[in-house]
Subunit: 158 residues, 2 copies
Amino acid sequence: MTPIAHGDDNSGAERSPEERLREHLKSRNLRITPERLTVLHGAMTQSGHFDAEELLEALRRSNRPVSRATLYRTLDHLAEAGLVKRHHFQEGHARFESNFNRAHHDHMVCERCGQVIEFVSEQIEALQEEICEQHGFRAHGHVHQIFGLCKDCQAEHS
Amino acid sequence: MTPIAHGDDNSGAERSPEERLREHLKSRNLRITPERLTVLHGAMTQSGHFDAEELLEALRRSNRPVSRATLYRTLDHLAEAGLVKRHHFQEGHARFESNFNRAHHDHMVCERCGQVIEFVSEQIEALQEEICEQHGFRAHGHVHQIFGLCKDCQAEHS
DNA sequence: CTGACTGCAAAATGTTTGCAGATTC
DNA sequence: GAATCTGCAAACATTTTGCAGTCAG
């Protein structure tokens, strides 16, 4: 039974993100440009989840602005290279998350205070693999988000 | 151990969708209009998942056209009333699913052809409850999507 | 009658694309 | 030098909103 992927593709995590991006681009005859390295660096140093607009603004603030078009085009490459994960949650737009040297995890999100609790369950992971096998489905990743009220907000809310 | 909710709110599933919508609207001093009933019936008779455009077209074809604006506004009400579920898969737009007398299930989504496979695992559900309890988290629902390649697309892609 | 609803068209998002000039290899 | 990039602005796709007239209660 092959371990299920999580979109991590963290094989080769010993190499730096930059090395990995360089390699990815080279292998496709794409060019290594300052803009792409800027976006990479920005994405790697964002804390937690971020969307395109947030990253754009962060780069602008750190005086290394990049055009919206280049940002979107580069995020595609980073996702393909497995350096970021792209999520489509309940919102109408994509959110990203650095995927470098980051262990797989899922999320509980408090609907009241927005707190995010990470969780991992090997048992759930194993069950997912089983289900995929049963359907001949080759998993690339998954989103598993539980939403509700965290401990604090339950107390406060009573 | 309280069973985890899935955002279904399928309590009162014995009443017809129309009764449930009427009740929902009445309780908020909203009006019961032909258009809203049309959208409701359309949504209930779509097979499987559908998006706004598909429903709009279906209603048009069955000679009960509704404006795009009304469709979107009504889908919000249906979702609030728990009569449909709104999903955000890998695409940039929402897909809906009738939630009337529908048991809880999660999804595998093919990234290539968009096919959606439903799955349920009592074991995973139970593990989720456990995890929530461990964190003192009160779950209201969850999103569990596995994305990857379906059987057909794996073959075709080889 | 009054406030909510509808359709329309315009606006607002979030993302993609065509193009001309700049840049990487 | 050739092919790929970048930024810009325009195009797109989806969803939301303002408004004037219509309709449910």
